[in-house]
Symmetry: C2
Subunit: 215 residues, 2 copies
DNA sequence: ATTGTAGGCCAACATCTGTTGACATGTCCA
DNA sequence: TGGACATGTCAACAGATGTTGGCCTACAAT
């Protein structure tokens, strides 16, 4: 039995295991990967630090276990693309508002910037859960591009509102927020690809790049 | 002279000082606050770790010095709101693409999630530089709300493309990116406030929240 | 030449971190 | 009763990190 972790078979020590996991999630979510210490997690779970090691091997594997989660994304394959945006935005805002229980997003956002495991998992979740979510019924060639745009807005929202807590973004109530963001997502999902910029826009852009003043 | 740092008066040791600052910026930008060590910075600058302390007091103050920067935002007060979005988006994309010299954004983004000084500075920059940038010529009552929305999209873009490096977002060439993002920003800046959602949208939202299936 | 001082280096400190191994306890089965 | 094994505690190690103080060297002013 030497070298065998308790991860392997079902046990009645699950309560302890869950206590560790929950403590880990909270710590990782609000302090990031580096500032979270095994000792602090153990203290939160009222056990000895060495127990954490026995249950999860090492910090990295503990994080992997704590960051394993599902988006719980709704099945939108039946929803026409025009409505999809509204449902998507409202779904995630609602999910994130009730952040007490599920801090998965915070964990990933806060850790992905310094921990490579977290970053990799973020890309994985994006590839496996976001792209398919957005893809159904959309030209597959365009799906990746559109998903990226959707992600940029949705993650930006999550970042400003729930992690950085920029006052201006926190102040908006969730309904108004959805009303602002949903059309953006709808456009990223449905607007014909490669919209041609107007001549005026091109000119403005070029002028700007060449240092000409406005007007 | 005891207790006096070299910060106070002009010196001919500026080269060393600058070397430290540059090394610090690079480390902070790509490894975040916690993973960046004084020793590593010192090694990059080819000096002794204790020199860093002498020049900047402590890690926190060094970070404060390294994270002091300006957005170099263009003056858009003369630009009509409709054009402002395009110029703004293109300005920042252009700034960020040439990231070799100026990694200011990466420093802030990567450190703001774990370091309170960085987070505070982020809010400050937002309040002092972003809001005014967007405000001119817009109803001041609406400026904060609109700025927040702009920030959510622009920071989300920066996050996905330059920090998380989500392949889907990295793949887009900058021109196409600007063409996608600019209309979003334009809407956030100019669309009449509190757009009323269509009856259908409200119904879809309620249905969804109540767990009804789509269609 | 002496001296004051700024710029720089070296060695060490105290602390914190992940991690390990030895030892105690408790529980279930033979 | 006794032993196997899971569950948990204690103490410690080894390495890294921020930080400090002492010492050396160059050099300009006296």
């Amino acid at each position: 039995m030497v070298g065998m972790t308790n991860t392997d078979r079902p046990r009645r020590c699950e309560p302890t295991r869950q206590a560790i996991l929950q403590a880990a999630r909270e710590r990782f979510a609000c302090e990031g990967y580096d500032r979270t210490t095994i000792r602090a997690i153990a203290a939160d779970a009222n056990i000895d630090p060495s127990m954490v090691m026995r249950y999860f091997g090492n910090k990295e594997q503990l994080f992997a276990a704590a960051a394993k989660f599902d988006l719980h994304a709704p099945d939108l394959s039946e929803t026409p693309p025009e409505e999809r945006a509204d449902r998507l935005v409202r779904h995630f805002i609602r999910l994130w508002e009730g952040d007490l229980a599920d801090s998965s997003l915070q964990i990933l956002l806060r850790c992905a910037l310094t921990n490579e495991t977290a970053a990799e998992r973020m890309r994985l979740i994006f590839a496996e859960q976001v792209i398919p979510l957005v893809t159904t019924g959309i030209d597959p060639d365009e799906a990746v591009e559109r998903s990226g745009l959707v992600a940029s807005q949705m993650l930006g929202l999550a970042l400003c509102r729930y992690v950085l807590r920029l006052p201006a973004v926190v102040a908006l109530d969730s309904e108004r927020l959805a009303t602002w963001i949903a059309p953006t997502i709808r456009r990223y999902l449905t607007e014909p690809r490669a919209p041609i910029p107007s001549a005026r826009e091109i000119q403005a852009g070029n002028d700007f790049l060449n240092g000409k003043p406005a007007n």
